[in-house]
């Protein structure tokens, strides 16, 4: 592989384009790297927006019934008269925070952005298998996202039935719910196209010599994730169609007989089953949890191997655990429904499968922990985030065990304990891994490295405050404070003892918002002014760092067709001049 002079292609985008116009190059691009960047920027903006919604909600939770300072008047009388948030508006914010963070933020960033940009490079492919389809998935995602956002402007506001949209509440909700369903159908379609593309690419376009057991763990994570998206999303699409029929055509798929709303009997025929929605929803939404976490594990595995300068401990068992995790994630969904009266027999079954699925997660986490053992660790910014991921995901995972057991879940269900649990998995878990990935692959994407000092400030502040937000939720939840309470529990006698935590959590959340400012500054500053670095800045072994230049060209990722000779993590191989052996280096140097 020829080594280009560092910084020879310093601009953010490459300066060697095929003769295509601006629109084809930057907007309707079919190049997987450009699409990856589009996904990343869009998803980061959605993450910021979704987080802002939560920061507004946290005011109401900390100071119920008081006017929101500074921005309260901007929401108008229908949402927050005199700056005091209405319950309806609070519900909209809650529903949209969940939807945006999961479907518009984390998944598009983890799969759309990192998967699109890194995966084809790591398997030595010239592009995705279906470039046009790739472009379509981004734009359908974009349309779905804009549809979701615009629903805030509707009379009656956005969807307000929670991100789970449980029927029959969602069926009788305002028109925002219909728009939510249209948005979801766009997002589902986008994910389906994307997952077909990802799987085909990984199966068909691997470089010569890159057998499955030589794939970087990140690629395995993306492969299993894509299968989950492919097979779990269609049932939600079906459910979405049924709910649309209920809302628009007056059917009663999810509407039981004899429903009375505000003293008025509903006109529908009834005979439907509200539990059907929950089954269809969780059949998607449980695999979705693994869609959120697997790419994060993939990113963390890459960064840990690279920064400990040694192979991953138990690569094969991690791969098998990931595949097993994928299978099992389809048979655990009803542990979200222990309180619906499904019956103890069904509950026992889903309890058992839930305990079983914790095993592969623990295998992966243990392997990552053991990978640290005996390594000479480089504490780079991405490594800090990756290291923080391990205990944070550990807390998130272990606090899930009581929720998977029906007797414990009866007490904890729908309390802040649940919120704390899944936020530990997704926020200091997945989001930290995604930040790690941003810092790690930034030099490949821009040819420049991000500022280390600002990165460390970003890390330590985020790490402190994010725990300040979510750790007290366990305490509140164990005390029995329900989620989705407009006043944060102020009305309930049993919540009084833990109510003071609300202010603490809110202040931490706002500080967490402020802690992202160093990252935003760093991101834009480094794009133009960051230190120019060589192609393989981290001395990594995988093929993504063997791509022509940093950033790689818009067409043709590699100067020669890459060929792979060894596994993905040959670090510190004895008798070798350097402490890493790239996958595409022909023979060992003795």
């Amino acid at each position: 592989m020829s080594e280009a002079a560092p910084g020879a292609h310093g601009a953010v985008h490459t300066d060697h384009h095929a003769p295509q116009g601006f629109w084809r190059t930057y907007v309707f691009s079919q190049d997987h790297k450009t699409i990856g960047i589009q996904y990343a920027i869009t998803a980061l903006l959605f993450l910021l927006f979704g987080f802002t919604l939560m920061m507004i909600m946290r005011w109401q939770l900390a100071y119920p019934g008081q006017a929101i300072p500074f921005i309260g008047k901007l929401f108008g009388d229908s949402r927050a008269p005199e700056g005091i948030m209405l319950p309806e508006f609070y519900n909209q914010l809650g529903a949209m925070h969940g939807t945006i963070m999961v479907f518009l933020g984390v998944v598009p960033l983890a799969v759309g952005a990192f998967g699109n940009y890194v995966m084809p490079l790591q398997i030595g492919a010239p592009d995705m298998a279906f470039p046009k389809l790739n472009m379509m998935s981004y734009w359908i995602y974009f349309v779905g996202g804009v549809t979701m956002l615009s629903s805030f402007l509707l009379p009656g506001g956005a969807a307000s039935s929670g991100w789970t949209s449980y029927a029959p509440l969602s069926v009788i909700a305002t028109v925002g719910q219909t728009v939510w369903l249209f948005g979801m159908i766009c997002l589902i379609t986008s994910s389906l196209l994307g997952s077909v593309n990802f799987i085909t690419t990984i199966f068909q376009l691997r470089a010569k010599g890159l057998s499955f057991m030589r794939l970087p763990f990140f690629v395995w994570a993306q492969l299993v994730t894509s299968f989950l998206l492919l097979l779990a999303f269609p049932p939600l699409e079906a459910a979405g169609v049924l709910q649309l029929m209920d809302r628009l055509a007056g059917t009663s798929f999810f509407m039981p007989s004899g429903l009375v709303v505000s003293g008025q009997p509903l006109a529908n025929t009834g005979g439907g089953n509200p539990l059907l929605w929950q089954h269809l929803f969780w059949f998607l939404a449980h695999p979705e949890v693994y869609v959120l976490i697997l790419p994060a594990m993939g990113i963390v595995a890459e960064i840990i191997a690279n920064n400990t300068r040694k192979p991953l401990w138990g690569y094969r068992s991690m791969v098998y655990a990931t595949i097993f995790l994928g299978f099992m994630s389809f048979v655990v969904w009803a542990h979200h429904m222990f309180l619906t009266g499904m019956g103890t027999v069904i509950s026992s079954f889903f309890q058992a499968t839930t305990m079983i699925i914790s095993i592969p997660s623990i295998i992966i986490l243990t392997a990552l922990f053991l990978s640290l053992w005996g390594g000479s660790i480089r504490f780079t910014t991405p490594m800090l985030f990756a290291l923080a991921f391990l205990p944070m995901f550990g807390i998130g995972g272990l606090t899930g065990l009581p929720l998977g057991l029906a007797p414990a879940d009866i007490h904890l269900h729908d309390t802040y304990y649940v919120i704390g649990h899944f936020h530990y998995v997704v926020a200091p878990g997945t989001l930290f891994a995604l930040f790690a990935g941003l810092y790690h692959w930034f030099p490949k994407v821009t040819g420049r490295t991000m500022n280390d000092t600002l990165g460390r400030i970003h890390f330590w502040l985020s790490f402190a405050f994010i725990n300040g937000v979510f750790m007290p939720m366990f305490i509140q939840g164990l005390a029995g404070v329900s989620r989705r309470l407009y006043d944060g529990g102020a009305m309930y006698a049993h919540a009084q003892g833990v109510l003071h935590l609300n202010v603490f959590m809110s202040v931490c959340a706002w500080c967490l918002g402020l802690a992202q400012i160093p990252f935003i500054i760093n991101f834009f500053w480094s794009m133009r002014k960051g230190k120019k670095v060589s192609d393989n800045y981290w001395d990594a072994t995988t093929l993504d760092w063997a791509a022509t230049t940093s950033p790689p060209m818009a067409h043709g990722n590699f100067s020669t067709v890459p060929e792979v000779y060894r596994g993905p993590y040959e670090y510190s191989v004895p008798g070798n001049g350097r402490d890493f052996l790239p996958q595409n280096t022909p023979a060992e140097v003795h």
Partner: protein, 196 residues
């Protein structure tokens, strides 16, 4: 660098890209209709009364439609086989027949729908009518999608025959796989909704 395996199969997987892609897509379609059929089962099991399909639906028309769709699957295979035998004229004939048969199916379905509406049978009438309209409506949309793809392959898309015949043959094969799947869904829908 061109994307490899768009035409010839990759030796170790044995398929070309689009073929793997369509099988994956069909797997997701199985999950979509699987979820809807499961919903049907759950709703029917939980219902106090459930009409027999033949009380409301027109079995003779549906039988004709079944024959029409199965025939269209045969002509679809013949169109692909014609291309494999390098006979573009026969291909056009069979592909045209496939599209025509699909349209016949849609017209007959349209008559069935119109008759239901005339009798005041809308989706909101009962859970049975709701699932009938949802399942057949979604299946109908799949037929429309197939007609659009096949029309493209018959019209502007067929120019590829001159430049890259192997790839064009692959495209027809892939469209055929989709078409057989849509056919197969109907073969499940017909007994479930009309006969049981």
């Amino acid at each position: 660098m061109e994307i490899p395996y768009t035409v010839e199969p990759r030796p170790d997987t044995g398929v070309y890209n689009a073929k793997l892609g369509i099988w994956l897509f069909l797997a997701s379609e199985v999950m979509l209709f699987g979820a809807l059929f499961s919903s049907y089962v759950l709703l029917r099991v939980g219902a106090t009364t459930w009409p027999h399909g033949y009380e409301h639906l027109n079995i003779p028309l549906a039988t004709v439609n079944t024959v029409v769709l199965i025939t269209s699957s045969v002509t679809m295979v013949m169109s692909w086989a014609s291309l494999a035998m390098k006979n573009i004229r026969r291909y056009r004939l069979y592909m045209g027949a496939t599209i025509a048969l699909a349209c016949v199916f849609l017209v007959i379905k349209g008559f069935e729908y119109a008759a239901k509406f005339e009798h005041g049978l809308y989706p909101s009438e009962s859970t049975f009518m709701a699932i009938y309209f949802t399942l057949t409506g979604l299946h109908g949309l799949h037929i429309v999608g197939g007609v659009i793809v096949n029309s493209y392959l018959l019209g502007p898309g067929s120019r590829m025959w001159k430049t890259d015949p192997a790839r064009f043959t692959n495209r027809v094969e892939v469209a055929g796989l989709y078409w057989h799947f849509v056919d197969l869904v109907w073969i499940f829908l017909f007994p479930v909704l009309y006969l049981l």
